[in-house]
Amino acid sequence: MMLAWLFASPADRRLLGTSRFRGPTPWVIAIMSFSIMIIAATGLALANTAGALTNAIQARYAVEVPGGGQDLDVLVAALESSPGVSSVEAVTESEMRRTLESWLGPAANSADLPVPALVNFDVRAGADLGAIQKRIQAVAPNARISAHRDRVAPLLRSMSELQWLAFGLVLLLGAAAAAAIVLAARGALDTHRFTIEVMHGVGATDLQLTHLFQRKIALDALAGSLGGAAAGALVLILLASGASFAGELTGGRTVASADMLLLLLLPFALTALATWVARVTVLAALRETL
């Protein structure tokens, strides 16, 4: 019953003329929907990437031993025997130098360049980090322990800020779409002022008149938002290779199933917003008349 107004009779449809999707409203809504889709997908991908990254490094620590890894095997053995350590991975000096070669060139293999030894290890939940640290320092007193999350914290902070920016942009675009609907509704009221006067004259209620405009704008908004969302989805699919690369990098999917559902609901949410704004605008305008 709540949506009965959406299924108008042919006679009711004729009241505002038969032209549909001719005005700028569907196009404006399509552009908004397209932009919202892209920005929302980007924000969600960022959130998921940040989440995956956080999960991957949450329990990961690095032990850095300045001056090389003469006692690397002992250090690895000490870590492996420590309670709460789930995995240990030593980065050999040759691997380190190979990595540095990308930036330093042949100089990376110079004996004058001190390369620290590096051991990455993961801990289980509830592990006693203090005890692990004591064991490490017993084997390598000058070793430095650092949490991976501290190293990538600035990156995660930037990603979080970008997520909020995306969220803010989605809200702003929603507000802009609402403003466009207000203008469209007022324009429609102006165009059909005569019809409104005649209908009021024969006893039409504000709600009867509102339903006519609400339905027209809802259909325009639905067409526009679905069209815009479809175009946005196409662009996202074209960008899928990049997205899957990011997914591999972080060991997870960039857009989860729940996010997909959320993105699918966006055009309908935009239509619902447009319909509500149209209703409020038309009712407010009609209340100014007798």
Partner: protein, 244 residues
């Protein structure tokens, strides 16, 4: 002024104006101190020079305007300060005919006439028969699908009348209904009004057309001058044996 005093006194009022005044914005009053009653089932002509306030008075009658002072009772209800949400049911009991027809251009004659029925919630089955019948009554059975711009002035006015009376209104208000039609058509329209009046509808026609007035001997004449009612005999204000 002509009035059928005996009949006037026995019939209940369909409209009662009590010290009614009307001004637009901050301008001078266009209507002032209107005190009168219109009896059910009667036929009234509203006359007066241009600018006397005839159209404004009709707007008050068909609830398109509120008075700035005084009280108006329609159908026995005080409506001058009634909430606007409560007005549509009363408007459905009033038919209005305008000089400029006020037909919706993009709708067919059928749809224009059907409008009050559809607004009142009638189904398409309930609309079809009465609208066809009404169009036949005004001589436009074969023009049902024509749109107003393709109709002559007389045809448009008949569509407007059909729309005004399709709901069998208790009060029919017409503002210069013959202003845009020839003399023959004016007589035909008058016959429609008198036929409706015989069926019990109270008719109020604002007109300058003396021939029209003379052709309706049983009608009462109400004259407006400078926004006030010229009622030298006091019959409108204090009808004999009135029930006010």
């Amino acid at each position: 002024m002509r009035a059928k005093a005996g009949r006037e006194g026995k019939l209940p009022a369909i409209a009662e104006f009590d010290s009614v005044g009307l001004r637009y914005g901050t301008g001078a009053e266009v209507l002032r101190d209107l005190d009168f009653r219109l009896s059910e089932g009667s036929f009234y002509f509203l006359t007066g020079p241009s600018g006397a306030g005839k159209t404004s008075l009709l707007k008050l009658l068909y609830l398109a305007q509120r008075p700035t002072r005084g009280r108006i009772r329609l159908f026995g209800e005080e409506l001058s300060e009634a909430p606007r949400e409560s007005l549509p049911p009363y408007r459905r009991r009033i038919g209005v005919v305008f000089q400029d027809f006020r037909l919706i251009r993009h709708l067919s004659a059928f749809d224009n006439v059907a409008l009050p029925l559809r607004v009142a919630g009638a189904t398409e089955e309930e609309v079809e028969g009465p609208v066809r019948e009404m169009l036949a009554w005004v001589g436009l059975a074969d023009r049902a699908s024509a749109r107003p711009p393709t109709l002559s002035g007389g045809e448009q006015q008949r569509v407007a009348i059909a729309r005004a009376v399709i709901n069998r209104p208790e009060l029919l208000v017409a503002d210069e209904p013959t202003g845009n039609v020839d003399a023959e058509m004016a007589q035909r329209l008058l016959h429609l009004f008198t036929a409706l009046n015989r069926l019990g509808t109270t008719v109020v026609v604002a007109t300058h057309d003396v021939a029209l007035i003379n052709a309706t001997p049983g009608a009462q004449l109400v004259r407006l001058e400078n926004g006030g009612m010229a009622d030298p005999t006091g019959l409108l204000r204090n009808p004999p044996q009135g029930r006010r």
